[in-house]
């Protein structure tokens, strides 16, 4: 017995040396849950595609309750109309939008109605702990211009599955799986009955604490790669490369995102000769001032916008 006790302590010191090695060993049965498939480019989109606008925007959100709030929004400015000519056609418009939001941990209802009768509604309901139902629709008074889509998301231990049903016989499904603690791979399939199109896509995402790299390929001809590096707590840099091998269209962009105490500044420059910047300045508690600028040197299209957001 004494000999056994004598033998046990010496192995303790080599075990301490082995501890950092065992911490690095990957437990393949205990991987984290991956990001949803449609949010795979989330960090890159947040930095490179802010909500740029042209004109004046005023948003007021009034919270009536802990869960319920109403919002009033006014917009005045030129809206772009898609045209075949090389020049962009802009029509000055002004509209008022009324909205109601209900936020519960299990149910979220979001509705916005415009003065021209368009309704934008979103519903998100947690049916069980792992199953989420989402519905999204844009309804108009004009016939055949309304869209609706319903999603069912199932969250497994280290995977996510999503089914999508839309109007116009649109069916989609996507699956994403964590392969290592940093890498997740996913794929999606969709079938659009009305446009007689179907497609399959693959995506991969590698993220650490400091960087996120994603790649996506689709049978519609799109190849999208992005890389976001978090340089510090306040600064992150992002770059994006999009290539369409059917239409031979290439776009590369590079942007920055500064999250400072009183403001958030995002800027980007494009290979199409387009530079944009978006500033959100916090003037006071609940009062935000927004400036947006987008300059397209190639098409000679200059867009400047300003706005004010009141409320949480």
């Amino acid at each position: 017995m004494a000999s056994h006790i004598g033998v046990v302590p010496p192995p303790m010191t080599p075990a301490k040396g082995n501890e950092p090695k065992t911490a690095e060993k990957i437990d393949y049965l205990n991987l984290p849950c991956p990001i949803p498939y449609e949010e795979i480019h989330r960090e890159a989109l947040m930095s490179l595609k802010p909500e740029l606008f042209e004109g004046m925007r005023f948003d007021f959100t009034k919270g009536l309750n802990q869960k319920f709030s109403l919002s009033h929004s006014v917009f005045m400015g030129p809206m772009e109309v898609p045209s075949q000519a090389s020049e962009t056609i802009k029509i000055p418009t002004a509209h008022y939008e009324f909205g109601a939001n209900f936020l519960d941990p299990k149910l979220m209802l979001f509705g916005r109605i415009l003065t021209d009768g368009r309704l934008n509604a979103r519903v998100k309901c947690d049916l069980t702990d792992n199953l989420i139902l989402k519905a999204n629709s844009q309804l108009t008074s004009e016939p055949h211009m309304s869209h609706g889509m319903v999603n069912f998301d199932y969250k497994g231990k280290d995977f996510r599955i999503q089914f999508q049903l839309g109007n116009g016989a649109l069916f989609g499904a996507s699956y994403i799986q964590s392969v290592t603690p940093h890498l997740s791979l996913g794929s999606e399939v969709f079938w659009a009955g009305q446009h007689r199109k179907s497609g399959i896509g693959l995506a991969a995402r590698y993220n650490t604490d400091k960087m996120v790299a994603t790649g996506q390929v689709a049978s519609t001809g799109m190849v999208a790669l992005s890389y976001v590096q978090k340089v510090s707590e306040k600064v992150s840099l992002a770059s994006d490369f999009m290539y369409n091998y059917m239409s031979r269209d290439v776009t590369a962009s590079f942007g920055y995102d500064y999250v400072l105490r009183q403001c958030r500044l995002r800027g980007k420059i494009d290979s199409n000769g387009c530079t944009a910047a978006f500033l959100e300045e916090r003037l006071n508690m609940g009062l935000n001032f927004i400036l947006s600028a987008e300059i397209d040197h190639w098409k000679k299209d200059y867009k400047f916008g300003f706005g004010l957001t009141v409320g949480e």
């Binding site: 009324f98 109601a100 979001f110 509705g111 309704l119 309804l139 309304s146």
Partner: protein
């Protein structure tokens, strides 16, 4: 005789397919009518639904709070 039998067989096939076609048409028409009605109901009723759900909570907001923008 053979031609008569052949004609009869064609007649039977025609009636079966016409029945199937009418039931499928009926279903399609009924589902399109339902979707149209559902669209109109959602268009007019979604925002009032959200407001009713929001107002029927524990801390009820008053009508004046609902109407004024302050």
């Amino acid at each position: 005789m053979a031609t008569r039998v052949a004609l009869k067989a064609n007649g039977k096939k025609g009636s079966k397919t016409s029945e199937e076609r009418s039931t499928v048409k009926c279903l399609k028409e009924w589902s399109t009518w339902m979707m149209k009605k559902a669209k109109v109901i959602t268009h007019y009723g979604f925002i009032p639904l959200v407001i009713i759900i929001g107002v029927n909570l524990k801390r009820k907001p008053t009508l004046s709070q609902l109407l004024t923008p302050f």
